[in-house]
């Protein structure tokens, strides 16, 4: 059984988790152009790499970030969100 480590609950079966996709920086919806907003809404970086992704441990509702290699499915690290933890910098509000 494949395991993932929840930062709160420890190692659990992967079936207890859902992936919400790669971490992406949201442009300011008030000032963003339509093209930049469409890029944010639809486009993805689907080249295999070690990526930061949002994951949720559904039985407990814990949202956290996993660093996972999307070519081998190796989970390198999991941790709770903290300001400054994102590899892709958050855009200014």
């Amino acid at each position: 059984m494949k395991l993932m480590t929840c930062p709160i609950n420890g190692p659990r079966a992967i079936s207890e988790f859902v992936c919400a996709g790669e971490v992406r920086a949201m442009p300011d919806p008030a000032t963003s152009s339509d093209a930049a907003w469409a890029d944010y809404v639809f486009n993805r970086n689907a080249v295999p790499a070690v990526k930061q992704e949002w994951w949720c441990h559904t039985p407990s509702g814990v949202w956290f970030i996993a660093e996972r290699d999307t070519s081998t499915d190796t989970i390198h690290r999991t941790y709770l969100y903290q300001p400054g933890c994102l590899l892709q910098p958050e855009r200014a509000a």
Partner: protein, 399 residues
């Protein structure tokens, strides 16, 4: 069956990336219908070794959107003559296709699909549970008591075919007309001239040398984002594995193709007697064709809900392919912002049935440098225009 080419030529009129059904079909129709024979098809693995050889071979046109129904209907028409066209037996077998509804909400979608289909002359109808029982008497209509079948969408033209032969037929036809198939030839870069908005294709760098060309058709699955990165484009495509499995061969008992969206099952019985089974996508992004026990367990459990008497039947093989998923479950085809770079992509879990019509429409698009009318709902720029082609209700079981 195929000509061996020792080396690449320094230039071709058209380079096609990917010797699967789609790429080979495009080469075939480029030569046959448009007289363009100076074509190289580059394949990093072997012919038909990607999703052409990994799907569950179901052919149907009972889609939901007008764009989808017309496109797949043309494909089914092409399929029906293909064995004669190739002089090669594709084992094309019209079986009828039942999409089971287990809830009133699902039944409403079936009626919707039936009405759209009939409007475009496609033979689909919503049928009640008695009709399903009469057609598939060996099925447990209560599905173990927890998902009773209330009706179905019946699509008489639903068919299966021998998938490898499709690649061989198109490949041989293209080869005989002068196109060159180069296996074990990986594209490592695509050369552009005039970067930015005026960018256009100048050549392709492979592990066997450089080719000069003005036109590149990208007809791969699973690797589309990597090829798009070579020309500096971003797209909504993301990659999930799709798994499937077959049982040991058993006596023929299942004539129609059975699909249940609620139970995440599709199944047909092949000419060899194997049950060919598939389910929904793996739940998260992964660029690997590994198989999982989770998949086999859950698919087997749902198969037993439908057909409890199969409990002693063994699973023979299990495998996976890489699916190019899109947000609206429709493909991404045609021209791109890079001139001379054409896409036949985003074929997710629904690409095999479209093989002939993709070859037809993409050969037209490449030859005339203009989108074929049938693919106008599937263009690369539809996302920037927020004009999606919402096909999720009919394209997959994972909803």
């Amino acid at each position: 069956m195929f000509t061996r080419h020792e080396r690449l030529k320094p230039s071709y009129d058209v380079v096609i990336i990917g010797a699967g059904g789609h790429g080979l079909a495009a080469a075939y129709y480029l030569a046959r219908d448009h007289g363009i024979r100076d074509v190289a098809i580059l394949e990093k693995g072997y012919l038909g070794g990607g999703n052409t050889g990994r799907n569950t071979t179901i052919i149907r046109s009972n889609y939901l959107t007008p764009e989808g129904v017309q496109f797949y209907d043309e494909s089914v028409r092409l399929w029906q003559d293909l064995s004669q066209d190739f002089d090669l037996n594709l084992f094309y077998s019209t079986r009828g296709h039942f999409t089971l509804a287990h809830t009133d909400a699902a039944m409403r979608t079936m009626r919707w699909r039936a009405e759209v289909n009939k409007h475009f002359g496609v033979a689909s109808e919503a049928v009640d549970s008695q009709a399903v029982r009469a057609a598939i008497p060996m099925m447990d209509m209560t599905c173990g008591g927890h998902a009773p079948v209330v009706g179905a969408l019946y699509h008489a033209p639903g068919a299966i075919a021998r998938h490898d032969a499709v690649a061989w037929g198109y490949g041989r036809g293209a080869d005989q007309r002068g196109a060159e198939i180069h296996q074990n030839t990986e594209v490592v870069a695509i050369e552009l001239e005039d970067q930015g908005s005026g960018a256009r294709v100048a050549g392709v760098i492979t592990n066997r040398g450089r080719i000069a060309t003005r036109k590149v058709l990208c007809a791969v699955a699973g690797f589309t984002p990597r090829l798009l990165a070579m020309v500096g484009l971003r797209s909504p495509i993301y990659i999930h594995p799709l798994q499937a499995m077959v049982s040991e061969p058993i006596k023929p008992w299942l004539d129609p193709i059975i699909v249940s969206a609620s139970l995440h099952v599709y199944v047909s019985q092949s000419a060899r007697g194997e049950l060919v089974m598939g389910a929904s996508l793996d739940p998260y992004e992964l660029h690997s064709t590994r198989s999982t026990l989770d998949f086999a367990e859950s698919l087997a459990a749902h198969m037993l809900d439908l057909f409890p008497f199969l409990s002693d039947v063994k699973v023979n093989r299990q495998w996976a392919g890489l699916a190019d998923m899109t947000p609206d479950f429709a493909p991404i085809m045609g021209l791109t912002p890079v001139r001379g770079f054409y896409l036949d992509s985003g074929w997710g879990t629904w690409g095999f049935k479209a093989t002939p019509v993709c070859g037809k429409t993409m050969s037209y698009t490449v030859a005339k440098d203009a989108d074929h009318p049938l693919i106008k709902g599937f263009t690369f720029d539809r996302f920037a225009r927020y004009a999606l082609t919402a096909e999720k209700g009919a394209a997959s079981v994972g909803h």
